[in-house]
């Protein structure tokens, strides 16, 4: 087999599967409907009144109460304040994760040094560790250094992102040719110059995938903020959102307006970057071919 075969595997499969094309589309469309329906229904609930939702049968069409529900929601929780906190935490976390992980991944992928295998091995083991093991002591640790209630208590643990290193390591190994690094070294470029000038520009797709991954994770994180952000004026969007839901007087259309507004930014960001994101996710796989 030659390399050419593996880079264009689609042609063969396509030939093989063509007769089932329509059936496949039908199945896929059903799946898409299931996957998109909750978004549509959230909008329906957010645009109607709670009485419409409680009614049986409930109202199935879009209503005209969206602004009213949003206003009510904004009066109940500090939506934009908590969103700002979330953006700050997710943004800072993402940038630092990209930097820390790419630097370490570069060292692991392209250099041999004593202890490399062992260190990289521990990394893989810890990818498997449930984070909950650490939650309790992490909280005590944050208390001891006086960070409970502060946003930096959220960002720091998230920086130890073993997955990012692993992911970039795979990518750099195959995606950054050694010849380029050799040439740069002959030109007198040191380790950090090689990293900055050669490796970084070449792994942009992988970085953009990791960026979205880290950002989405930080944005959606719930348990740790729930525990560590004790100061009610400094919570994140997810915690604030969950608070909307608690209590006797659950006003569902108002809650749904909050759900909608909290989910929307990510979905929009994702829709914009989706092409690159999914390409990044699948590309790493075929890098070696």
């Amino acid at each position: 087999m030659t390399t050419a075969d593996t880079t264009r595997p689609v042609t063969g499969t396509r030939r093989l599967r063509r007769p089932r094309g329509l059936t496949a589309h039908v199945f896929l469309m059903v799946a898409v409907l299931i996957s998109v329906f909750p978004f549509v229904w959230t909008i329906v609930m957010a645009t109607n009144t709670t009485e419409d939702i409680y009614k049986s049968p409930p109202k199935l069409t879009f209503g005209s109460h969206l602004l009213e529900n949003i206003r009510h929601m904004l009066n109940t929780i500090d939506f934009f304040g908590s969103m700002l906190n979330t953006i700050v935490v997710a943004g800072v976390t993402t940038v630092l994760v990209l930097f820390i992980d790419s630097l370490a991944a570069f060292a692991f992928a392209k250099f041999d040094f004593p202890g490399r295998k062992v260190l990289f091995g521990t990394l893989l083991v810890f990818m498997m560790l449930p984070l909950q093991l650490a939650v309790l002591p992490q909280f005590i640790l944050m208390s001891e250094i006086g960070w409970v209630g502060m946003l930096k208590a959220l960002a720091l643990p998230a920086l130890a992102n073993a997955f990012g290193i692993f992911w970039l390591h795979q990518y750099i190994q195959n995606g950054v040719p050694d010849e380029l690094l050799d040439a740069a070294r002959i030109d007198g470029a040191g380790f950090f110059r090689q990293y900055w000038n050669i490796a970084l520009p070449m792994i942009k797709p992988a970085l953009s995938f990791l960026a979205i991954y880290a950002f989405v994770n930080a944005w959606n994180d719930y348990v740790w903020p729930l525990i560590v952000l004790t100061d009610p004026s400094h919570v994140t969007l997810q915690v604030e959102l969950a608070q909307l839901h608690v209590g006797h007087t659950t006003d569902y259309s108002m809650v749904m307006a909050g759900v909608l507004m909290a989910a929307l930014p990510l979905v929009v960001v994702f829709a914009i970057f989706a092409r690159g994101f999914i390409a990044g996710a699948t590309e790493g796989a075929v890098q070696g071919s």
């Binding site: 499969t13 939702i53 075929v286």
Partner: protein, 335 residues
Amino acid sequence: MSSPPVTGPATVPEHRGGPGPARFRPRRTPPAGTVRPSRRGVLSHWRQYLAISPFYLIFIGFSFFPVLYSLYLAFQRYDGLGTKQFVGLQQFEFLWNDPVFWLSIRNTLVIWVLSTVPTLFGALVLATLLHSVRRFKGFYRIALYVPNVTSIVAVAIFFGAVFSNNFGLVNAILGTVGISPVPWLSNPWLIKLVIALLMTWMWTGYNMIIYLAGLQAIPTSIYEAAKMDGAGPVRTFFQITIPIMRPIILFTVIISTINGLQSFSEPQVLFASNAANQNVGGPGQAGLTTLLYFYQSAFLNNDYGYGAAIVWAFFVLIMVLVVINWRLVQRGRKS
């Protein structure tokens, strides 16, 4: 918790040129031309150590040390405010005799099976279908992936509204065809089913993308050979696609095991405690997962030592399950 990292590349076989059919080399094979500086002792590599140090420092401080410390806590009695008191193995003895702990383990396992099996099977089927079509590929990928970028909190609130016993959409629809309301959020099995549905909805598209990456790497010559042997699509799927995808499937199974066993936010938000409902984890504690029980013990009952014991016992359980999974898949491979 933030979802554990999952991606395809990890186990996607690399196809470097070479004779014979694609071989699946261990991914830790060092790249052909790794730059190997001469070994002049540890110090000469200070740049590399510096480069990896930020990660390891944060990692030691905020992950490794806390994990060890939680083991220490599991041998203490500590309410988070007063003083710690060494109690030996007492917490584990309590744990062993605590029916709620075992109930929470059962709940977690049931929810895990109910969500992982359909998620992975569905993802594999969807990936195969998606791999076979030519048009709208990009659209499908995005539309099917989008559930994964929504937050568990938002999704749990949504599911709570839709499956609500008295005024949910699902019961309303059932009502129009004459089916009396189904107690989705009070029957112990249905509670688990709803939680599992939620997780399936969120994670199918995600695993599909991973499988798709794997499928794209399968050389076409294999399929052509199969076609020449007269194998139909279904047989091809079970006899070629699945065996070749085994490493990726193994990877997703392990990650889903870790991920699925850590369900916490779903029942926590779904059954947020309030005055009308003092049960953490819903009626009959049917949605009480182990991590939720941990949260309840540590942070609601201020029993930090017991919480630490719960989470460590649970960790051992996950490890056992991962090893069993791995063994099963390995054995299947040999046969």
